[in-house]
Symmetry: C2
DNA sequence: TTATTGAAATTCATATAGGAAATCACCCCC
DNA sequence: GGGGGTGATTTCCTATATGAATTTCAATAA
């Protein structure tokens, strides 16, 4: 089940589609502070729809781990990922993605090398036009990894990976722009190994890519969040 | 996110909780044939609630892969798992569960051996009272595997595994009773390796358990579905 | 100044109703 | 006899309203 079939957009549930896009963007862009409670009435009125589609969207966003539901309190936005959560996420990626890269590096029609090359070429073009890369980089990264997962031939693994919404959450963490060149280089290495039908190399390249990616995020953590820990009021006493 | 926190039951969304349990049971028991369209009106009236909570429940069931939504047609029950889907599911389990068993076999407080022993003892008691084991076996299996996943210390992996709802779907496939003794024996082997803090052995035992489990299911497939293939009209010509 | 209690107001969860789209049957036409 | 079009019915999707629970704010007492 890839995030959402575009079939939802075609017909039926028109309001839900719009509201979903709007609310997801609001959360990802940080317009709603992490941990804030969401007023269904206010959202419904501000978007010019009734409460019903808003409730349905909140249900869906709960599946994306962008909001949480508390039984008497309604919905709140989830706090940003901490370093432990980020580590858990990338440990999971290390479990499934190198396996998928290995599975995709076969001499069959399922080999996704051509699709990956198209994706990379398309993104290289986008990079030249120096618009805000952030959105495009995340979109490219999402498609690149999903293509490999799809080529693994295991829809359960692909779905489980998609459900983590790792790109969604990392994007939410770091709206700051990052260097797309490094990512492209690592992606290229993965693609070449897959094209060469070299499972060992594909697995290794993917493993390296994920480890490096995590390291980059972790460094950003150290740089950005260390000062925050200082500002936090030190807990004087645990008891009483 | 384990299936559903009991916090939902405490307060708030009373109707939703009841409707969810009722509809899930109906689908799992096969009272609604796989692939059938679900009439929201009819369900709401038969359960004595309005359409609103029914719609919310259907959203949730879609997340469980028990129903699918088609844009103009509403919701239908998903077809039963085929052998390829079952294989994909167990391949995924082979990716994460042996890893989790290895991670759980450590000399720390996180070691789940005691909890596993309690779970096994409890189920052995249940087995003596020869009620319908089906429900209880699935419940035990769910708890046993989730305990190990939880002890792995990686909530992302645990959540991804829980989201597959593998026990839900396998139960739906085979309402026929199976022998619980084999399962208990294999579970015990896993538990002992974890208690002994032997990662290699724990990983091996879990791998063996999953492979055996799949083989048992696959055999049931061969026995049940082979005649069905015979009845299917053989495709004489592909073209025209 | 702080903690507590009460009531008012907000907000959630569900029920009910109405407009729109799709399905199905029937009929007409080829 | 077969295929396409039209109307009625069903069903879905959204809107509005109501009861219940919780939160908040203010006032009072310690």
């Amino acid at each position: 089940m890839p995030p959402r079939q575009s079939s939802d957009i075609s017909r039926g549930k028109v309001a839900v589609t719009d509201v979903y896009a709007s609310m997801r963007a609001s959360i990802l862009e940080g317009e709603i502070a992490p941990g804030t409670r969401i007023n269904i009435d206010a959202v419904a009125r501000s978007l010019g729809v009734s409460q019903t589609p808003v409730r349905e969207v909140l249900q869906r966003l709960e599946g994306d781990n962008l909001v949480v539901y508390s039984p008497g309190r309604g919905y709140s936005t989830t706090p940003l990922l901490g370093l432990p959560e980020l580590r858990s996420l990338f440990e999971f990626r290390l479990l499934v993605e190198p396996w998928a890269a290995r599975a995709a590096a076969v001499d069959r029609l399922a080999n996704p090398a051509a699709a990956l090359e198209r994706e990379l070429a398309s993104f290289r073009d986008t990079m030249k036009a120096d618009k805000d890369l952030r959105q495009d980089l995340v979109a490219h990264d999402t498609r690149f990894h999903d293509t490999i997962l799809a080529a693994s031939g295991n829809p359960v693994v692909r779905h489980a990976f998609a459900q983590t919404h790792c790109h969604l959450h990392t994007f939410r963490l770091y709206p700051a722009d990052v260097d797309g060149a490094i990512t492209v280089a690592e992606h290229s290495a993965v693609r070449e190994a897959i094209e060469a039908c070299d499972p060992e190399q594909a697995e290794a390249a993917m493993t390296m890519h994920i480890r490096n990616s995590f390291d980059r995020f972790a460094q950003a953590f150290a740089g950005e969040l260390a000062p925050l820990e200082d500002t936090g009021a030190p807990r004087k006493r645990i008891i009483k």
